[in-house]
Structures are given as structure tokens and as C-alpha cells.
Amino acid sequence: MYLSPEFAGAFIALFAIYWSLQRRLAWSNRLLLLFSCGFYASFGLAMAGYMLAYSVVVHLLAKTICDSSPKYRSGWLTIGLSVLVLNLLAFKYYQPLCNQLSALPIADALWWRGLLTLDVVMPLGLSFISFQAIALLLDCHRQASHCQKLTLAQTATYLLFFPTVIAGPICRPALILLQLRLPRRLIDPAKGLAWIAMGLFKKLVIANWLATVWVDPMFDNPEAFNGLELMLGAAAYSIQIYADFSGLIDIVRGLAWLLGFNLPENFRRPYLAANPREFWLRWHISLSSWIRDFIYIPLGGSRHGTLRTHLNLLLAMLASGIWHGAGWNYLVWGALHGLACSWSRIWQIALPRPLSVLLTFTFVTFAWIFFRAADLVSAQAYLQAMFSYSQPFSYNLPGGFCLLLLFFVFHAAAERWPDWHARLLQALHSPTRLAAMLVFAWFCIELGPSGIPAFIYAKY
């Protein structure tokens, strides 16, 4: 993916040709589309073909909604949303549902048993692409200015934009379409490089080390560890998933920045939130704002009384859980956050902020156990083992707690890191700058895993 030598070589070639076409906006956009299609095709030609066809369908729906009279516009929107939602549900849940039905004793006797054995492969990034497509159709319905004179190439580029296609951030149509239509310049490239450097460090060093040393051994075999170690292991996963996902977002923001695109921020120091509602204003911001705007508010939001507000909140968070996967553990994770968000609306207890932050982090870590576990049974096993203290210690617990504290110190300064890195790069002379970046990259690769590591959120 983004960390492979093949991608690095291809991106440098793209960079060279792209900026040589700087004065020819149409050609640089075509190059961007071609590269995005090629990037997607590297995961499978059939998948890429399907997504191109998908882009054509979305574009036709968008144009139809835009051009139809007000009388028929809502009807077309309903058709369009149904197609997109059914497509996503089919790919995401068909296989798990068929697996459940196939196991039934009557399965072999069913006349439609052939449907149960269909081989359905979900296209990469479909969850993210679908949400972007839905946002586009809704913008077309309200006749947003950026949807006027929409071309097929623009629709396809918006949906398949290579920095965001795998794991977001989920971009609103206006953000990408307007940037596609305006001439782009390379401004402050140090910032882009700083983002990429930070992302590499978070992914290759922090996330990988935590996964290999703490998280995977503990979640694989929780009964072998002391309860205190497992508590720290759960906290380690909280940091791992943050470093993994925010590291990926940093890398894609940096890549897009080097091409003149500004992508939205997706994390804002989430573990400094003082309550679960605030956590969702800081974590995976593009997803939580999408769910707020396209699920919570259409359901009625907070406009229909207290009980309905809490129900809407719960449904929205359940949708977030289901979006991540078809397992019961994701549903429980979503439900926990839904209940916690409702609870924090009701109980506005005035606590010192550090205590609120600690309690929120504890709750979020507890919920992550369900997210990380393979299924509900494994989550239950982990939780049970967390309250057993008879096992001998295998880990340096005081050292682990110190690292946790250190994480919070760095986390508090997280927003400033890109600016500091960029200013440091700018302050250095060219040879020193090159040497510093070389040493840093070499250091990340030395401490990172062998082979090309996968990103956690790429599977959603």
C-alpha cells in the first residue's frame, strides 16, 4: 500500500509529471484520475473494473438528481440512496449472513442454495467510498453549486482519489471537487513531508511495537497474563489503534498536500476528551460528522424530546459499530458508545478535567476490547482474565505505566508536531536537511517490522 517501495517509486514519478503539468489543470486532473485507477487496480483488476462502473452509476444518478425537476428529484434521490446502501450492505453482510444460513440443517435442501455459495468479495475501501457517494447525491439534491457542471472524471476522481480511497478521511464533495477545479500550487511542502514523517513514525515504530510486544500476545492468550498486565495491554491497544489510524491519515494528508490538496483533519487529540461525546468530536472526525449529518440529524437529532434524542444517539452509534463490521462485538462496541454518549448528555457531573479525561480514556479503552477481540467470546475471555491476579508477571508494569504517561504528554502536543517538524526542516541547510530526513527514515525502518505492514482501518 502506501508503505511499499513500489508505491514510493510510483508516487515520485507521479509528482514529477503532475507538477510539470501544473499550468494545464485538465491534464493534471486526468493524470490524477489515471494514477488513482492504477493504484486501485494494483489490488485487483476485477475490483477496479467494478469500482469504475460504480463511479459511472453514481455519476449518472448525481446528474439525474441535479437535472430533474423538483417534483421528481426526491424520488431519484431515494432510488440513488437505495442503490448505494443496498450495494454496501450486500458486499459487507452477504457473506456473513450466508455463512450463518449455510450452517443450518436445511441449507442443502433449499432450492436457492446456490445463492448461499456465491463468492462475494468486497471491493477495497467500499465503506468509505459509499459514504462519499451518498454525500454527493445529497448535495446534488439540495442543488449545491459544486454539483453543477459535474463531469464523470470529477466524480470518479472524488470517489477513487488514491490518498483517501483505502481508509479515508471521508471527504465531503465540496472539499475535493472545488480543489479539483482550481489551479493548485505547491505551498509549504515541509508541512507535507512532516506529516508523512510523523505518520511513518506512528505506524512503523509505535503501532508496530505495541502490537508485537503487548497487544497481540495478550489478546491471543489472555489467561497467560496477570490482570494488571491485561489492563495495561488494553491501554496499549488504545494507543496502537490511534497510532495506526492517525499515522495512516498523516501519511495520506502529507501525500495529498504534496499534490496541492488539503484534506480534512481526522483526529484532534482524542484521548484528551473529557467525556464520550467529546471523544467523538475528536476521533475519526470525518466518520462521526458524517453519521451526525446523515443519520443522527435526519432521524430527528435533538428536536423531538429527550427520549427520542437518546434513541437517535444510540441508533447513530450502532450504525457506526455496524459500519465497521458484521460481528456482534462491533455492535456491542457501538452500543457502549451510544449509551455512554447518552449518559454524558444526562449527567453533566463537574469533575476536574484531568479526572474526566482519565475516566473517558478508561471507558474508551474498555470499549476497544470488544473492537479488538475476534468475537464476543474472546472479548469475554479477555475481560474475565483482566480481573484475575494469580498469574506471574511477565512485563515491566512500572515501565509500561511510564510509557503510558509519556504518550499523554506527547499526545497533548500532537497538533503542534507537524508545524514544529516543518519549521525544523525549513531551518536546516539543504545537505543537513537531507541527512536528517535520511537518518529519520532509516531509524523508522530499522525499528519497524520486516515486510510491508497492513493498516488496521484498511479492512473496513
Binding site: 514510493a8 492468550n221 489467561e223 506471574p392 508494569l397 535520511l438
Partner: protein, 327 residues
Amino acid sequence: MRPSTRLPADPAQLLFGMLMLGSLLLLLKWQAFVLYVEQRYQFYSLPAISLPVPGLPGEMADFLAAQDRQVVAWLNAWQGTVPAATVQPAPAVPSRLELAVEAASLDQGGERQENHRAALALGSSSLVLFAGDSMMQGLAAPMNQALRKRKIAFRDLSRHSTGLAHPAYFDWPRTIDGELSARRVDLLIIFIGANDARDIFHKGKLLRFGSEEWRASYAERVESILRMAEDSRVRIIWVGLPPMENRYLASKTPVLNRIYQEAVEQHANSLFVASAPALTEDGKSYALHKKTAEGGILRIRADDGVHLTPSGSRLLADAVWSHVEFQ
């Protein structure tokens, strides 16, 4: 006046910087790049350039590890628990289990497997080691669950994209040797080979898959693992590769399975478990689905025609566990 050192917004200069950075990084990590290309593309013609590049200082890692061990020892002393590292090693005299295995090796034909099944027993103090590639990563999940239920400890070493054919990328014999030296393992389960249907580059020579030299070289690697386990009194279950849909692999997996089976049969402490009976309808041909005894249909192979689905992994796990007695 000192010239400005701001990073230029000129794409050409930035491109030059990226090319320089990429080239220098490639030079520094050339060996790793060569291994990556060999593993991924089976291309062995890149020159091996050996540069005196220092790695990260090992002394720092050793110092930190020593500090960790001291703190862990202090924690266990405070709690009054005995850490895993000080568990008593296996006794020097043959145990009842080992004598049973020895007796079983004298039997001929089908009786050997029955007696070996009786000898392959796991209890709550046992340790099971899983080794292999991504196929093992899938198989290990249901196998771990069965062990977890019985509170039997395990370690999963499985690692995707590995095999025995390319030790420069990942050395399984050395990894297993390290594990067997560090802890008392009772059972080692190996499921490997999906990445080994390829030519081997051995001592500067390319050995074509299936040739006599290739078979001898590969068999020696299998043999080294079996010998290690035998010397450490560890039982081995070697799981054979299932039939593959992929035509390239389909013709090669029987060659690999034959090597595994022939090598395993020379060692009394090891057992070869073929996966075809559990994962096919007719005992030999690739099957995407399998009918259950209750009338259901299970999807057992993944869309790549190689890996197993969770249902397929569970079927194979049951087949492997049928050779083990849980006490």
C-alpha cells in the same frame, strides 16, 4: 546577508530532494530491498551490495531488556509468584508419554497412528507452539480457542508470506530453534508451504522447483526442524497443504506434501496430518464448499482459492485435534 533556507516551493527542487533521499535510503537498505524483491517477485538477479551500515546498537536493547527482567523479578517476588522462565525443564528420564511414543514407533502401519494419538496428550501445564505462514494464521485462531477453553498455554509464531524456501527473508528453523531453547514446549504444530512453490536460490545456485537438487535442499530444511524437535523431546504435528484452486499451486502442493510426509514418517515423535480429507468432498479435489453431516453447506475456502475461511479452519482444526487427547 545569509541566503534563505526555507524549503523551496519549487516542485523541481523538491523532486530532486525526494530522488536523493529515496536513492540514499535504497542504498542503505539495499539488502532488505533485495530480499523483498526475491520474496515478492522471485527475482534473484539483483546484485548483492554489502555496505558497512551500522544497525541499531544492540547494547541499548540488552540493557533495557535486563532492566525489564529485574523489574519483573521484583514484581513476582512482591506478589509471591514464580515467573514462567523458572518453570522446571522436562525431566531427563523418559516419561510415560515418551515411552509410549517409543513403543508406538515399533508398530507397523495403521496401529502407529492410534498409539501416537494416545501418546499425544495435552494438559493444563502444556505449551503448544504454532508455526507457519498465513495458512497457519487462519488455522491457529480456532485451535487457540480450543486451547483457551482448556486453559492450555500456547504461542503463535505464524507469520504471513514466510516459508522454508527463502530463509534469508525469514528463517523458520532458526526461529523454532530459538523457541525450543527458550521454553519447554510440548507440542509444535506446523502448517507451512503455500509460499514454497517456487525455485530456491541456494549457495549461489538457482534450484528449479521439483528438481532433485530442489527436493534434497527443501527436504533438508524440513528435516532440520524435525531433528530439533526430536532433540528437545517435542512432539510435532505437521499439517499437509490442502488442494488449491490456483493452477500454479495445485500442481506443486502434492510435491511439498510428499516431502513433508516422507520426512515426518522417519521420526517417531512426529505425525503428518493430511488436510484434504477435512477440506474436500472426495478426499482429494479442491472444494469451495463442503456439506455438513447436518445438511448445511459450509464455505471452507477463501476467494483466493488458497486460504481457508473460518469455517474451513474450524474443520481442519477439528481434524488436527482428533489426534490429540486433552487431559
